[in-house]
């Protein structure tokens, strides 16, 4: 990595410094300082409306679509300031894959969904053979434990899959772009318990290969599936620490109240 002015060193895949964000006049994030460590699963919990989605969407600058959003402060991804002048959004988003609350496969075939990003980036730089495409397709689907279920209907529309399969597909299509960070915004909230378990298992399996930041409403899930945990409340980060410590001996009374289900 080159050393431009907006570069930081460190072990953080995502680092925010004094991040404030306003939707028009409404301030949704207050002075957020967050460091998400590389190669780890960090979960983020907090009541509805506390700014979890907003924070995630700021990290890949998807939030800018809304013209009335204003931010101050810095966000570093893999050590680079993503608000820098010389930053190319496409490059930022290639490094950060996002999984949304509702599975959102594109209304094209399963194959085209998985290869969408690959064709967009790789296939424009060099000649890609059909065999290589098939290989990428198969390995991506295998990584998300979906290959055996869909291998006979790769050319069927992706929207015909079950929600669980769709969500796995949405993860699979990120992989050919080779992101380093995966942001997941309540990836299981639209799924039934069996689907939740399957997707959780998958996320656990991706640990180590990717830095994962996962928002969840499910305390048990955060506890089971993450190494560090962040608790947010009303646009602020209240507490951030190792998951078991945060659950066993929270430092702040708000955290304790929340994880014991006293509000939220």
């Amino acid at each position: 990595m080159d050393n431009t002015a907006g570069t930081r060193n460190g072990d953080f895949a995502i680092e925010t410094r004094g991040l404030n964000l306003w939707y028009g006049d409404f301030q949704a994030l207050f002075d957020v300082d967050l460091g998400v460590k590389r190669g780890m699963i960090t979960s983020m919990i907090g009541p509805s409306g506390c700014g979890k989605t907003t924070l995630l969407r700021t990290c890949n600058r998807i939030i800018e679509r809304l013209g009335y959003v204003r931010t101050t402060g810095n966000v570093y991804v893999l050590g680079h300031d993503i608000f820098g002048d010389d930053v190319e959004l496409v490059q930022v988003r290639k490094q950060i894959g996002m999984v949304f609350q509702r599975p959102n496969p594109l209304p094209i075939s399963i194959r085209d969904n998985v290869l969408f990003g690959f064709k967009l980036h790789e296939a424009r730089l060099r000649k890609v053979s059909a065999a290589e495409e098939d290989e990428v397709l198969e390995s991506s689907l295998r990584q998300v434990l979906l290959w055996d279920t869909v291998k006979d209907r790769l050319d069927k529309p992706a929207t015909g899959l079950s929600l669980e399969e769709q969500q796995k597909l949405c993860i699979a299509r990120l992989l050919p772009v080779k992101p380093q960070v995966l942001l997941m915004d309540e990836p299981c909230s639209a799924l039934d318990p069996a689907g939740t378990e399957a997707v959780e298992e998958l996320i656990w399996k991706l640990r180590g290969e990717y830095t994962i930041l996962i928002v969840t409403h499910n305390m048990a899930q955060a506890r089971r599936a993450s190494e560090e945990c962040v608790f947010m409340l009303l646009g602020k980060i209240i507490e951030h620490g190792r998951t078991e410590e945060l659950f066993l001996s929270p430092e702040h009374s708000e955290t304790a109240d929340y994880i014991e289900g006293r509000f939220g």
Binding site: K94, P107, P157
Partner: protein, 289 residues
């Protein structure tokens, strides 16, 4: 235990009354349409024949057919479409996919809505001043079609924007998130999923221009030319203007001729609508979500 109470009965009476009123209104709406179409068919059908469709008027418009007007209307609509669709679709794409949500964009949107409300006679005067005189196109198909195009531009933009906005935001986010630029997103996801709506919306709106009289009256339509237009700089006859002319200006025109022209005009518009709806059904069948 399950018998009606007086309150139930009153609610039921009110609900029957409401239903009756709404039904009546629907009938009131449908009756004029049936009457118009019925009258046209009954009075106009005897005039219709191959000869009527494919020959020019004769004897000071009191006999003969409508061929030059029919051809002229097709010219006008096609040239107007060629002008308004690319501009309108591009503008809608900009407004819906690129423009930031700020004061300027909101002002432009407001202007478009207001432009749609400008009376056609005002467009006619504008077209006459701008295209016929200033740009020296003279009274021609080009000037008349451009006037029609300016008039239909707002509806093309609105119809297109509605189709674009019917494409779920989640699709766009999925694409951006994989590092697609806005243009790649538009080309690969937004347009393929909205094209049927855009096309049918546009055809539906534009078919109405076939019936417009005022905008072409000063700008390119003429009461009578014996030959067919050979290019966009020729003047032309047109169905709507022809109807206006034989109904109000020419003398001794047999009634069935007037109704025949009206019937053909309505048939053209209905046919274009039918084509666009058929097209929509076909494309929707191809759609995968």
């Amino acid at each position: 235990m399950f018998t009606a109470t007086p309150l139930n009965r009153r609610s039921y009476r009110n609900q029957s009354l409401a239903k009756a009123v709404f039904f009546l209104m629907t009938v009131v709406l449908v009756i004029p349409v049936l009457l118009i179409v019925g009258t046209l068919v009954v009075k106009g059908a005897p005039a219709i024949s191959w000869e009527f469709l494919f020959t020019a008027p004769t004897d000071n418009m009191t006999a003969g057919g409508i061929f030059p007007a029919l051809v002229g209307t097709i010219w006008l609509v096609v040239v107007a479409l060629l002008a308004s669709v690319p501009v309108g679709v591009a503008a809608a794409l900009y407004l819906s996919e690129y423009a930031p949500d700020n004061l300027l964009t909101r002002t432009i949107n407001l202007a478009i809505i207001n432009l749609a409300g400008v009376p056609s006679i005002v467009h006619a005067l504008f077209g006459f001043g701008a295209f016929v005189l200033f740009f020296r196109m003279g009274q021609s198909i080009l000037a008349a079609s451009l006037t029609l195009a300016v008039m239909t531009l707002p509806v093309v933009i609105v119809a297109t924007r509605e189709s674009l906005q019917a494409v779920p935001q989640a699709f766009r986010e999925a694409c951006w998130n994989m590092g697609a630029t806005r243009w790649q997103t538009i080309r690969k996801v937004v347009l393929p999923n909205s094209i049927s709506g855009i096309l049918t919306g546009v055809i539906l709106e534009v078919s109405r221009t076939a019936g417009e009289t005022a905008p072409i009256m000063f700008t390119g339509a003429t009461a009578f030319v014996a030959f067919l237009p050979e290019g966009v700089l020729d003047q032309t006859m047109a169905m709507s203007y022809h109807l206006y002319y034989i109904a109000t200006q020419a003398t001794n025109v047999p009634e069935e001729l007037t109704f025949g022209v009206a019937l053909v005009l309505i048939a053209i518009v209905l046919m274009m609508n039918a084509v666009s709806i058929g097209f929509r059904v076909y494309l929707r069948g191809l759609k995968k979500w």
